[in-house]
């Protein structure tokens, strides 16, 4: 029992670590456009987003109650070490994509991790593939298209309606609208993604026999998950913010506003309809659509293509990593300890690679290749240590 308790503690800490990576991986979804257009200073943007993620975490526990969404059969013999392996795989994939500046879905990393670890630990019957297709794959394919079409139409409309207005007044208005819509996306993100971690922790507590089956998340789980995702969001994944804010298209304030509004509309409508989709896919699709509908209509499709590849890879890659982890964790205590060491070691290694060429709030929206990027002065590296 004592060993069990220790393992459960480790799993909870790992789940919160995943929640943290989820936060900084997804800051870009809500705030990249506001930072890119200068509607908000970078540091203020991440602070607002962090605070709203925290508030969002307290709004609802519905997603947490159905965390695995029926994907994983809870009665098929899931142990805390399976959840542990799933989390390690998800964290590593999140860190790798962050290092490459790719906005991949944290939710897919988590789902992939859970699926991979479950497949290895209990076999095919532990995963409901029908649910995987209908609740994860199809929404993942459809949501960026829906957000893109909505943002494209809205951008055309916005430019058309305001073409006669004075540039000063409309510019100010659109920036305010951008802040409001980005805040709504942050709030929705906190509700959706913090709950996924709550669900994982609750699942672990149930499998360990600490909580009765079908319990909701205890208050301390809600608080811890909310704080972890808020802290991660506040730290800010500047690499991904740069990709979304500058890499796909040159965003103007009206486009930022329409992209975020479309994202918020799609996220809220589909969670109302019961689709748990990825904020990342929706927001990226929204930004592409807004870029296409804008004045120049220029979208950097090579970046978009790279992102699409990463989206496709996320589920299988996280599943593979977690599957290997589950093999190791199944070997007993030494396997779990080794897995923990490997997970921590790889994370530290990725972090060190990041520090070689850090990106932080001070130069996040500089165009790559400009003078400030090549600067490797010690002071900047020091601030990036904290900021990245």
């Amino acid at each position: 029992m004592e060993h069990m308790t220790f393992l459960v503690t480790v799993v909870i800490i790992t789940a919160l670590a995943f929640d943290f990576t989820n936060g900084f991986h997804d800051t870009a979804n809500s705030m990249a456009t506001s930072i890119a257009t200068g509607a908000l200073p970078p540091k203020v943007a991440v602070a607002i987003s962090g605070a709203l993620n925290l508030v969002g975490a307290f709004l609802s526990v519905q997603v947490a109650k159905t965390i695995s969404g029926g994907i994983i059969d809870e009665k098929s013999g899931i142990h805390p070490q399976v959840v542990f392996a799933a989390l390690i795989g998800a964290i590593l994939w999140n860190l790798v994509t962050w290092l490459r500046g790719i906005p991949s879905s944290s939710s897919h990393a988590l789902y992939g991790g859970l699926i991979g670890a479950t497949l290895v630990a209990v076999g095919m019957h532990g995963v409901d593939f029908d649910v995987v297709v209908t609740k994860i794959i199809i929404p993942a394919l459809a949501s960026p298209v829906v957000a893109g079409v909505a943002a494209w139409g809205a951008t055309k409309l916005a430019y058309r309606i305001t073409r006669k207005g004075s540039a000063k007044a409309t510019g100010k208005g659109f920036k305010a609208g951008q802040i409001a819509s980005a805040s709504l996306v942050s709030l929705a993100h906190g509700t959706n993604d913090a709950q996924k971690t709550m669900g994982v922790i609750t699942l672990t507590l149930v499998t360990a026999g600490v909580l009765a089956p079908h319990s909701g998340p205890p208050v301390w789980v809600i608080c811890a998950s909310g704080l972890a995702i808020a802290a991660g969001t506040y730290i800010g994944g500047w690499r991904i913010i740069r990709t979304l804010g500058k890499g796909i298209t040159d965003i103007e304030a009206p486009q930022g506003f329409t992209a975020q509004t479309a994202s918020a509309a799609v996220i809220l409508t589909s969670s109302h309809m019961g689709y748990g989709l990825s904020t990342t896919h929706v927001c990226s699709g929204g930004i592409m659509g807004a870029g296409k509908g804008g004045r120049t209509g220029v979208v950097n499709w090579s970046t978009a293509r790279r992102m699409a590849y990463a989206w496709g890879l996320t589920l299988p890659a996280a599943a593979l990593l977690s599957g290997l982890g589950a093999l190791l964790a199944d070997q007993g205590t030494w396997g779990i300890v080794l897995l923990a060491v490997i997970g921590a070691g790889c994370s530290a290694w990725i972090y060190l690679i990041n520090r070689r060429r850090p990106i932080d709030a001070t130069h996040v929206v500089d165009v790559p290749g400009s003078a400030s990027l090549s600067a490797a002065d010690p002071a900047r590296t020091a601030t990036a240590t904290i900021a990245a």
């Binding site: 829906v146 809205a154 916005a158 007044a169 208005g173 409001a180 918020a264 969670s271």
Partner: protein, 81 residues
């Protein structure tokens, strides 16, 4: 496996319509506000822009209230779902 095309389709339709409605209302609000500003500056010079300015301001308030209403409904959905 059953793919619920009707649910997917209505999600698509509702998302696009809500986006267009909110963006449309917000943009009308912004241009009304811009007209109001022009009317006030004109009015200061000639003394005749008061009524036009008030109408523009009213339109702007109405449009923004509509947006706020939709956002409020959005929050309500978050808290429910």
């Amino acid at each position: 496996m059953q793919i619920n095309w009707a649910a997917l389709g209505s999600t698509f339709g509702v998302s696009v319509l809500v986006t267009l409605a909110v963006v449309g209302a917000f943009c009308l609000g912004i241009s009304a506000l811009s007209r109001h500003e022009t009317a006030v500056t004109d009015g200061g010079a000639t003394g005749g822009g008061g009524a036009r300015g008030a109408v523009a301001l009213g339109t702007a308030v109405l449009c923004f209230a509509l947006c706020a209403g939709v956002v409020g409904y959005g929050l309500y959905i978050i808290a429910l779902s």
